[in-house]
């Protein structure tokens, strides 16, 4: 039996050998080499156009399926589901009081039992829909992109659609995933090898494009996933700022340091804001060092909004180069929900999506103006990035993903309301 397996074994070996060679040659010729030289075959555009046509068809079929069963379809709307008027506390409570009293003058009473309606309604509104918690989970799409993870209308999938989905599954896990895994391993291996080589070479100068961050500057961008870093790094050289990780990330971090100086922190150092600020400003003053890349939100947000920018990087006084990054969610959601998925799970999902498509805008540099403090400066930069990327500009802290909201906000509300009760006392004593 052993003997009879041998020739078969040989055949298998030969076949495997051939397929590996073919695979790697294709990889090299079609992907790696063109990527190094910046040449494109136009395959990507064709791929995306085809995919979009298929997604449209899939969505139409689901809608048709739902209509046949006479059921309304679940349509996700990432914007508001309830009507919320932006009226202030004072205005609303005055309105409530006015409707309840038969007095003509402008609600001179200090307290009315109906005041509670304002708080009750606002509270229940936020239970039905709030601006913050939905930013920490993946955006819901209107059309289906043939990924199970983004489908909400399971019962309306016809046979044809299931077949298509199965085909998609095969392509994604059988072709795209292995392709990307191979690329990743090759890439990381090359990185570790090449950076050690580069570390031995003398310092070179950077290409300076329009609005591209220059030495001595700080590049800030909105944060959605680790891929942001890859995208920006592929388009320019930066000094990264971040915490030292263990494992694979740690290996990559350490090898990057050999090529150019980055600023990696121990976990304990991050808490010391002065230390961080000192290291950043030292780096920025040295004009031969690369521009720093920072994500001031401090955590990954789902790319529908920009949340509060931490003021640390805006206090240093260097020129800020804002960058807006917007992913097209139709092909694959790049958002890393770190409280739900670990790094490996995330990478797997990324590599088995259709594609990660993103737009990067380099905005004109900004500096802190006279009379502007760090927080105002940070908000100004945030507004510019939000405007360019078409994202919602929020004042809420991305740290709310994991932490509790500060009591000061509640105290503000209480103060506002107290003014309504007590303010009228002063008016009374005056008249």
């Amino acid at each position: 039996m052993f003997l009879s397996l041998c020739p078969f074994d040989n055949l298998v070996c030969i076949l495997l050998g051939i397929s590996f060679t073919v695979w790697f040659t294709l990889l090299l010729v079609f992907i790696i080499v063109p990527a190094i030289f910046g040449v494109s075959f136009g395959i990507r555009r064709l791929y995306m156009k085809t995919l979009l046509k298929i997604f449209e068809w899939a969505t139409l079929r689901i809608e048709r399926g739902a209509k046949e069963k006479n059921h309304p379809l679940y349509k996700p709307y990432s914007n508001a589901i309830i009507a919320r008027e932006p009226t202030s506390l004072e205005q609303e409570i005055k309105e409530i009081r006015r409707s309840g009293s038969n007095r003509d003058f402008d609600s001179a009473s200090e307290f009315e039992m109906s005041d509670i309606f304002y708080f009750a309604r606002r509270g229940v509104e936020s239970i039905m829909d709030d601006e913050v918690t939905k930013r920490f989970s993946a955006e819901e799409l209107e059309s289906w992109n043939l990924l199970t993870r983004s489908n909400y209308n399971f019962h309306y999938i016809s046979l044809r659609l299931t077949v298509l989905w199965g085909l998609g599954l095969l392509i994604r896990y059988g072709f795209l995933l292995p392709l990307r895994v191979t690329l990743a391993f090759t890439g990381v291996g090359l990185l570790v090898f090449l950076t050690s080589v580069i570390g031995l070479l003398p310092n070179g100068s950077l290409p300076a494009g329009e609005n591209k961050p220059k030495n001595g500057g700080i590049c800030v961008a909105n944060h959605t996933s680790p891929i942001d870093v890859i995208i920006l790094a592929s388009d320019g050289c930066y000094a990264m700022v971040g915490q030292i990780h263990g494992g694979l990330m740690g290996v990559i971090q350490r090898s990057m340091v050999k090529a150019c100086p980055h600023i990696w922190f121990e976990r304990s150092e991050v808490k010391d804001r002065h230390l961080v600020a000192k290291r950043l400003s030292d780096h920025v003053e040295d004009k031969s060092k690369l521009p720093i890349l920072i994500f001031p939100e401090g955590t990954c947000i789902n790319n529908t909004s920009v949340m509060m920018f931490k003021k640390g990087s805006f206090e240093i006084g260097a020129t800020v180069y804002p960058v807006a990054i917007k992913y097209d969610p139709r092909f694959g959601d790049a958002f890393w929900n770190s409280s739900k998925f670990g790094m490996v799970n995330y990478l797997l999902r990324m590599m088995s999506s259709w594609a990660i498509v993103c737009s990067v805008w380099y905005l004109p540099p900004m500096s802190r103006e006279e009379g502007e403090d760090a927080v105002q400066f940070a908000n100004r930069v945030k507004a510019a990035i939000a405007r360019q990327g078409g994202l919602v500009d929020l004042l809420w802290d991305g740290g709310l993903k994991r932490g509790k909201v500060k009591d000061t906000f509640k105290e503000e509300q209480q103060k506002l309301y107290s003014k309504m009760l007590v303010g009228t006392q002063e008016d009374r004593s005056r008249s």
């Binding site: 679940y74 039992m113 989970s137 993946a138 489908n151």
Partner: protein, 195 residues
């Protein structure tokens, strides 16, 4: 993510909730998606912590009272039915509902039931009366540290004086209704859906 939301809610359940609360099919599926996204423990019920995780609710001075309204006496978990039943109080009153005759049981979003929701926010011990002490406590929640005890006390006294008709120094639900009879409760205690 709400990805499995609409598949886990059966059609019969949706119909039952529709009858009980008056929400439409799509509104119910949307709110179910919301319910599951709040349910971090993924066990089909919400705890008080799940509500407190909503920042806008956490900064509401009466946030805890509102959260309490969702939990029946002595219970720590609320399921989707209970969730919807409480939210139903804030459904706008449609014109064709105003003329419903008294034989059908009162809808959850009637004017009286909206007022009852507000009344229960004041009535801390659920004894169907708002005592001076309870009124003081709720007032204190609303104003924080910005008003002195005496001032708050006099506000409470004045309010009870105006509302209390039977002289028991507390406000019953009927007295509460009387005080607010002119207020546009239908509009002020309603939340409109966009779709």
């Amino acid at each position: 993510m709400g990805s499995r939301a609409s598949t886990l809610l059966r059609e019969e359940e949706i119909e039952e909730i529709k009858k009980e609360t008056g929400f439409s099919h799509s509104q119910i599926t949307r709110l179910y998606s919301r319910f599951t996204s709040l349910d971090k423990g993924e066990n089909g019920t919400l705890s008080r912590e799940d509500f407190q995780r909503i920042p806008e609710l956490a900064i509401n001075p009466l946030g805890d009272r509102i959260i309490n309204a969702f939990f029946p006496e002595g219970e720590d978990q609320v399921n989707f039915r209970g969730f919807m039943r409480t939210l139903a109080h804030f459904r706008p009153i449609e014109d064709n509902e105003k003329n419903k005759n008294a034989t059908t049981s009162e809808p959850l979003n009637s004017r009286t039931n909206k007022l009852l929701f507000a009344f229960r926010l004041y009535d801390l011990d659920r004894d169907d009366k708002i005592s001076r002490d309870e009124l003081l406590q709720v007032l204190r929640m609303m104003v924080g540290v910005n008003i002195s005890d005496e001032q708050l006390g006099s506000i409470a006294d004045r309010t009870i004086q105006e509302a209390d008709t039977n002289g028991d120094n507390s406000i019953s639900f009927n007295e509460f209704i009387k005080v607010l009879e002119k207020v546009d409760v239908e509009q002020k205690m309603s939340i409109r859906f966009l779709h």
